[in-house]
Amino acid sequence: MNSNQHSATQSVNKTEIKHTTCAYCGVGCGIKAEVNPAKRTVNVIGSDQHPANYGRLCSKGSALGHTISTDGRLLEPEINGQQVDWNTALDTVANGFSDIIKQHGPDAVAFYVSGQLLTEDYYVANKLMKGYIGSGNIDTNSRLCMSSSVVGHKRAFGLDTVPGCYDDFQQAELITLVGSNTAWCHPVLFQRIKQYKQDNPNVKIVVIDPRKTQTCDIADLHIPLNLGTDVWLFNGLLNALNEQNKVNHEYLDQHCQGFENSLQAAQASSGNLNALADTLGVPAQDLQTFFDLFCQTEKSITLYSQGVNQSSSGTDKVNSILNCHLATGRIGKPGMGPFSMTGQPNAMGGREVGGLANTLAAHMDFNDDSIDRVQRFWDAPNMATQPGLMAVDMFDAIDEGKIKAVWVMATNPVVSLPNADKVKAALEKCDLVVVSDCIADTDTARLANVKLPATGWSEKDGTVTNSERRISRQRGLFEKAGNAQHDWWIINEVAKRMGFDSGFNHTNQADIFREHAALSAFENSDAEGHRLRDFDLSNLQTLSDEDYETFEPIQWPINAEFPEGRDRFFSQGGFFTPNRKANLLGITPKLPVNLPTNDYPLRLNTGRIRDQWHTMTRTALASQLNQHISEPFVEINTENAKQLNIQANDIVSVKSKWGEMLGRVVINENCKPDTLFAPMHWTQVLSKQGRINTVVNPEVDPFSKQPESKHTPVNVSQFSAQWHGFVLSRHTTAWPEVDYIVSAKGKQHNRLELVHGTALNNPTQTMLAWLGFDNEQQVSEQGLELLSYQDAESGLYRLALINEQGALQAVTMIAPHQNLPERTWLAAQFEKESLNKRARNALLSGYAPAGEDIGRIVCACFSVGEKTIEAAVKSGCCSAEAVGDQLKAGTNCGSCVPEIKEIIGQMDLGT
């Protein structure tokens, strides 16, 4: 080896450590990334020092390194499917928007942005729309996530202030989790709580959720209240607090107003325990237990999430929770307070810049003073003077032709918005649809006239804010891929081409951040020197580029009073209402807007699963995240399944007045009778008919406009399948003409799950065509070897292709029923360079030669299968800890520990 080669090898293997944050949920975990720039690879581990996670990461975060391939990335600008250069693309967007604005006014255009944008991206997008185009029409997917919390906070506190911090989770003596499957949706917070409870067994945990979820694993009490009845419950709690003399009158007198009103409403709706128990559909005894616990435990925190927010009374639900904390003064003190767990990495940053249609900027609303102040700060030529259209309304306006140009950034509304087929139809009609994304093929990008390649996680560079107001840096790990650009750069370029010469000449992200900080500080104190607005980064206005680069996580505000940030608000009042007093609201509970009918007798609840995030455009790139649950499913109660004659793993059709979805049924007792649960993740890119949001009703909260995603009347019926099947293929295959298709990426293969309503005429021939061959001749011409099995009378047909080196290329099987072999072992065969004889002979059985089958993957972090765990349990591991010691399963992110316990429990029952 000569010295040149030597140094080349060295640089190829050279890695550097960078600190960044996770791309997914609102926990905002810090990541220590070992980056190899030359190979464009990264190993991620949780950052020990980051106060959000202290070294922990969940399965999704741990897999980030597997999502950064440039395969499937959008790397060049495109207009109507044709690749163009940036100049052309940017001019087209700028001219398109300018023309429509000229003809139809600024409200004829809109931005639909995302909690995945960094604060800097968000800031310039908001500035362009509200200060330069002159419309409020910029809304965000955070609308679907926590806008009810925003409005709830504003109604109670005057501003959208999160009063507490994560540290409270580990100081409380009662933790109430409301409408949150924390175990799966905020796994790291769950792990922190779980560890804390293990160390402090006296700490009580109450889970309030209509569904029995994995979060219940650590609960002392689970209250499976009827869907949408949260306000009754918290009114009941307020009532109980009053009856048990736990109201903190001193705090109320000094810092709050409206208590009497709130109590009256509470008494009216929830004064009688038995009636309340009836309304909620839970035993009165359990309610009393919860009320007593809450009354008796000063150090109480209430964590809530989408189960509260995604409702036509989401804002009221939030305020009913805030009422209880205000009435007891349990707010802003260690271990006390209400806490909204946000769903996205930078939902909070979006709130801070004002990237919601009903906020203006920097925690200022559309009032004359603020409009004037922001106009002066921005030197804005066309200030928006009123709120714009919020998500559902925005797409309705597109559908009606009122909005003629929309720019969607880093989000996938065709999948995530309710009544999703209408959203799709609206975009199909829209004159100009611009989509900025890092992924080439998304349901929304398929409808775009102009596609703009944006940088993704690992390239993006800027700041995000997590659920506890902590600003962290998300750092670029690699050079921008292909011709991708940062969102802020794209927005600024379009702005300049629209003729806005000043205002968008930022030199870098830090430049934007300084402006953002300066706006937060701008005219932010009253005559007495009180800060007018909670959000204040005045100390960061002059942050140098170097300091921005080395910026350490810190909770805002960051100003003269709190130079090191502030962990809590409001223990001594100081709310941001005109009179500095918090508002308790009298809340009359309301049922969901659409109630079950004879035609749609069941209630559909939606949510997330452990290993996927949002519309799967990135998590589904990591094969290990597709193993735990790889198909859209519908969870149904045993009783309903019996009534409807539905068997486990059947395909069912879920229909509402708005649409239809097909999913695989899971039968258990997790959902209450007459309710269903389906995950919100699946897209049309990954499934033919798995988008649950086509079914979800587009009702919204009147204040927050957040959709009622957790409640839609539906009916469910068995899809009459003639056959079930799958294709696992090393090379991507085209989708066949089949009723039910789900695609999932696996390790070195792609998987299609197929179900169809009519029988195949010539199964072997058809299946060969799925693999891309007209006949056997073609197979051998390509040097491939065909294996086949058929039992025609039983309707079993199976094919496999193996290349000359003995490597599995594809395997496909069909059966008239859903009892096909588990795909785990078959999938693993794609990782082998050559199948040994045993494996080859066993291949079409779908089962490993005796002893080699690990079963369905339970632990995604270490790829540990169900059968391996069962074997460990049989061999004497009788606790999740023992299983972890032996197999490592559950010892990284820990989110599979409830399932490991379930397996142990079931095996106990069996013996």
Partner: protein
Amino acid sequence: MNKPKLVLIGNGMAGAKLLEELMISCPEQYDITVFGDEPYGNYNRIMLSPLLAGEKTLDEIMIFDRQWYHEKGIELLAGEENFIKKIDRVNKRVVTINGKFTHYDRLIIATGSKPFILPIPGTDLNGVMSFRDIADVENMVSAANTHKKAVVIGAGLLGLEAAMGLCGRGMEVTVVHNNDIPLNRQLDQESGELLKTALSERGLMFKMNAHTQEILGDESGQVNKIIFSDGSELETDLVVMAIGIRPNFKLAQDSGIHCEKGIMVSDTMQTYDPSVYALGECIQHRGDTFGLVAPLYDQARVLANQLSEHGVAVFETLPTATKLKVTGINLFSVGDFLGNEHTEYLIYRDKQQGIYKKIVVQNNTIKGVVLYGDTQEGAFYNELMDNKTDLTALRPFLMFGRALCEDQVPSAFVNDKTANTLSVAI
């Protein structure tokens, strides 16, 4: 000491098995004399093919040498001079070709079978032979040393084994068959093709759907040509006829024992003469005649049981699995492997590995099986077929063998405590 006298005519596979069984069940009960017209102890006839192929020596295929008979106190009279000419049933004695009499109280006829010789001109030429005994093997080996071309008529088990044996000894061998599927009694079209391909790759030539009309020889009486009914011809130095066997029942028939296609026997192997039993390829039982070793062994067990006066066992014809003894060729066939309009088929193919498996199912039980290339599960299927096991639960896993079936459907198996293994539940 006046033991009843037991005489056995025929020292082949069936006879020897009977002796072995008797030595277990009632070694002291009879005074036994055995007549055999081959000058050996007892050898394993089914090992003639490996003997021809040179994979085994004569010693290796001997089952019981003369010493064994001596040790067991059995009188063995082997060789042409001991050929039994006549059974004198009136006086209960047998007569050898040399006129020697031997009395019997019980007589067992195990005269086996004769190779079938085509009724065409030329079968008496030098170099035309069958493949039945050690002498045939010796003739074939010497022909291979001096001659080049051979034709084997009949692509049955024996024919193919003979052909491969000669091929292995350097001859150019053509197999002539009156069907387009080799081994058509054991294989279907598809497995037959695989076999043909495999054997062709090993140098064998085939002339299929051919009907031999005449065998011609030179002036010295040495075979040199075969003529077929379609007018085509093949030059050859050696013709081996392996087109089947016929029960050898002439002795019995001449003695007035009722025979049809073979010596008629009851379920206890008894002929129409209560002192005379018969077993092996010479018999006819409920319409069946026999050519494979497994039922012969079953017959030997039944007869030994009768002769030892336990008297409980009866013979039942079960489907018999066959194997081709050609190294590297694995096939297994049992039962009705072709099926009919009421049968269903489970089929597995891995052509490049030379694997083809077909299970024929009727009324949810196995009717027949052909396994080519991978015969590992043959015994399992045979067991399921014999037990008429209901396949409802096993069917989806059946093709992939016993281990998977045990894993997936444990209830179909019962714990056989004595053998410490699982047996198929009946």
